[in-house]
Amino acid sequence: MQFSSSIGRAKVLVCSREAERANIYPGMTFTEARAICSHIVWREYDDKFYKSAQKKLARELISASPRVSTRESGLFYIDAEGFNRLGGENKLCRDVLKLASRYGFVDGRIGLADSAFAARVASRSKTKRWYIVTPDCDTVFLSPLSIDFLPVEEEAKGNLKELGIRTIGQFTEVPLSSYIGRFDSSVLNAYELACGRDNTQPALPVHEKQYNCTIDIGSATESLRDTLFIFKTMLERLTRDLQADGLCADELTVWFFNDNDRFDERTIKLIRSSSNSKFLLDVLRLSLESKQLIREFTAIYLSVSRFSKEYFEQTKATISQADNSGCSREELLLTGGDELDDSSEPVLLLLQRFITRLGEEALVKPVLNDQYLPELAGVWIPVVSQSNFTSSANSSTPVHEVFLAHSALKTTNPKSRKDCLMPGLVLKRHLPAMPVFVQFKETSASTEVDKYTPFRPAAITYRGHWYHVNQITTPEKISGMWWEKPVRKSYYVALIEKKPELAMLSNGAKSGLRSILPALMTVLLVYDHQERGWFVEGVFD
C-alpha cells in the first residue's frame, strides 16, 4: 500500500491472490478495500525493500540461465534459448521454480514463449505451474484470449469491448491503421505485442557496487574511544567511495564479531541521507551509547545497506533572532520564538539522536482522529516525516473540517471567568486502567434522574482509600469498534472527596501513612460493560 496523506486514502498497489478472491484490486483505496474485507492485512509499500529482494533472487537465478532481467515487482525475464541439450525447457522450468522456492517464493509461475509478452500471459495460466507455448505459435496462443491481458487502460478496454472486440485475435484482425488516431499510444503498443512483436530481451546482469568494509583487529576491544576510532577509519573510506559515485547513505548495518561469533547486529536508519563521515560517526556513537555492547569484540563489519543518489539543495537562509533578544518584550504577543524548521541542521541532529536512542516513535505530535472513544479521539504521530504512518496509522482517520472548525471555535473561546484558560480539564491516564470498588447510592426508580444514572456510585476506592463521590456527571455511553475489539463503556466524570466517616473503611495499615493524595479530586470513572467492572481510567489534572 502506498500512502499519500492518510491511511484512508492509501492506495492498494499489489495484493495477494486471496485478496483478489475477496474482490480487492490494485488501485482501490484502503477505505474501499476494508469496506469489502474487514480483516484485510496491509503492509506499507517499501520500494527499496522489494527491489533488493528481487535483485537478490535474480542473482540466484543466474545459475539456471546466464541472462536474467528484472522488471516490475516479482517479474523476471529469463533467457530460455539453447536448452535442448541441457535437459530441455521443462527441466529449466523445474530448476527455476526449485531455486525460487528455496528463497521462500513458493508460488512462482513460469510462461515460456518466443516473445516476452506471450510468455508473461502464459505465466498467468491457472492450471499449470509452467506453460510452454509451442515455438512460432505465439499469435495462435494469444488469439483466443481476452483483451483483459493487454497492457492498456481500463477505459480503452471498455471502448474496445463496445466495438465488439473481445479477444486478442479479434483485436489483431483489424488493421493497425484503424486504431491510429482513435486510440492512444498504449493501444498501438499493445497491438504490436499481440502480433508477437516484443523487443524485450533478457540481458546479462549488471554488477552492483556494494559499500562495506571489515576490520579484524586481532585482539579484543571494548573501549568506546577505540571503537569510534575504528569506525572513523571505516567511514572515511566508505564516504569517499559514496561521494565519488554521487551517492549518500540511507541506512547503515553494523556487525560485531568475537572471533567467529557474530554477537551483535544493528541496523541504523538515517532520517536524512548523508555522505558526511562526521555525521555518520555521530550516529554510530549514539547507537553505541544507547545500546551498549554486551561483550568485547575482535572484528567489525560496516555496510551501507541502503543508499540513494545525492541531490543538492539550496539551504534555507534564516536570520537568527538571538541578536534581538535585548529588545523590550512587554507583552506575550511580542515574544515570538525562532521558527522551527524541520530540515534545519540542529533539528535533524536532535531527531537522529532520539531515533537512535529512543526509537522512531518517541518524539511525537498530537493529531486529531475521527473516533468516538476519548482514548482514540487523538493519535500521536511521529514527527519524523518518513515514518508518518508506521504503527499508529492503522487507527488514524482525518477529522472532517466542519468538526475541526467547530472544535477550534470552542477552544479559542474568549475569556471564561477570571482568566483565559482553554475549556476542559486535562486528563492524565492510568496505564493500565485502575480497577476500583464502588459503593452505590440507593435511588428510587421512579425519579427522572434514574433514566440517566441508573447506577449512581456513592463512594469508590482509589489507591487504597475510600472516597465519597461528591458529584458525578451524566454518563457518556459509547460503544463501537465491533470490527476489531468490541467496546461498550459508560464514561463518568466524578468529583471525589475524602470523607472522615469513610476512613474506617480504608486499609488500616495504610491509613496512618502520609498520603500525597488530595482531599478533592476529579477522576474519569468508567463502567466497562464488556468487562462488567468499574475502572478509574485517569485523573483530571
Partner: protein
C-alpha cells in the same frame, strides 16, 4: 555618570541574587510571559528564561490544565514547546489543538513519550532526564516541560547539570511534579515554584433536562500560589467547561457521501 554606572552595577548584582526583579527595559526579555494575568503581572512577572521553574500539585490539582492553556498561548505566539511525558499519561486528544498545521507562524508542540507499552524495558526516568538535557542543549525549543509524575528524583546534581545546559540556551525548563502542595520551599536549584490544587467553589454545567442531578460537566476552581525569593503570592483561576458533543453542541453533520464527479 559614575553614579548611574554604580546603580546599574548594583542592579546587576541584585539581579544575580534575586533574578527577574531588578532589571527592566531591554533586560525584561529574560522573562517569558504566560498569558495568565496573575502570573504575568504579579510578583513573579512571568517565568524566567534559562531558569528552572517547579510546577507542583497533587495528582489531581489542575496544574496540567493551567499549563496546557499557557502552552496554547506560547504556541500561538510562535514559541516551540516540548513536553517530556515520562510515563505516557497524556491523551493526544487533549493536546491536538495546540498544533495547527495550517498556520506556519504557530510554534510547534511536540511530546516525548516513553512508549511504556512496548516490549523494550528501559530506565524511563533516566532516558527522560537525558532527553531533557538534549532538548535544552539543541536550542530548538523555547520551553521544555519535564513531567516526572510521582517520581520526584531530581537530585541537586541533576538540577545543577540542567541549569548549566540552560545557561547556554534560550529555553525555560518547567519541572512538573505530583507533589504535596503543602511544601513551602522550592527545591534547590529552582528559581520559582508554582503550586496548584482544586478547591471550591465547584462549577457545574447542567445537561439538557436542566435537572440538578443531570450534570454535563464539573469544573472545580484551581487555586495556587507562586513562590519566588521567599515571597508567596496566591492566584486563582477558573476553567470553562467543555461539554461533549452528545449534549447541546452538535455541529452540522458533514456530507460524507462521495460526489458523483469523483467516480
Amino acid at each position: 555618570m559614575v553614579g548611574a554606572v554604580t546603580v546599574a552595577n548594583l542592579k546587576r548584582e541584585l539581579e544575580h541574587l534575586f533574578p527577574g526583579k531588578w532589571l527592566s527595559g531591554g533586560e525584561v526579555g529574560r522573562t517569558l510571559k504566560t498569558g495568565v494575568e496573575q502570573i504575568d503581572f504579579g510578583r513573579s512577572a512571568g517565568l524566567l528564561k534559562r531558569r528552572v521553574t517547579e510546577w507542583v500539585g497533587t495528582s489531581s490539582s489542575g496544574k496540567t490544565t493551567v499549563l496546557r492553556s499557557i502552552c496554547a498561548n506560547w504556541c500561538a505566539t510562535g514559541l516551540n514547546v516540548v513536553y517530556i511525558d515520562t510515563f505516557d499519561r497524556l491523551l493526544a486528544s487533549d493536546w491536538c489543538f495546540l498544533n495547527n498545521a495550517k498556520d506556519e507562524k504557530q510554534g510547534r508542540f511536540w511530546v516525548l513519550r516513553s512508549n511504556i507499552d512496548t516490549a523494550i524495558k528501559r530506565d524511563y526516568v533516566r532516558d527522560s532526564l537525558w532527553a531533557c538535557e538534549q532538548l535544552i542543549r539543541s536550542r530548538v525549543f523555547d520551553v521544555v516541560i519535564l513531567d516526572l509524575g510521582e517520581r520526584n528524583i531530581i537530585t541537586s546534581n541533576i538540577y545543577a547539570r540542567l541549569q548549566r545546559a540552560l545557561e547556554r540556551s534560550k529555553a525555560t525548563l518547567i519541572v512538573l511534579k505530583d507533589d504535596d502542595s503543602s511544601a513551602q520551599s522550592a527545591s534547590w536549584g529552582t528559581n520559582s515554584r508554582l503550586s496548584f490544587n482544586f478547591a471550591r467553589p465547584v462549577h457545574f454545567e447542567l445537561g439538557l433536562t436542566g435537572h440538578s442531578d443531570d450534570i454535563a460537566a464539573i469544573m472545580p476552581t484551581i487555586k495556587g500560589s507562586i513562590l519566588r525569593d521567599g515571597m508567596t503570592e496566591n492566584l486563582e483561576v477558573s476553567v470553562a467547561p467543555y461539554v461533549q458533543n452528545r449534549l447541546f453542541t452538535h455541529p452540522q453533520v458533514p456530507d460524507r457521501s462521495t460526489s458523483k464527479n469523483r467516480a
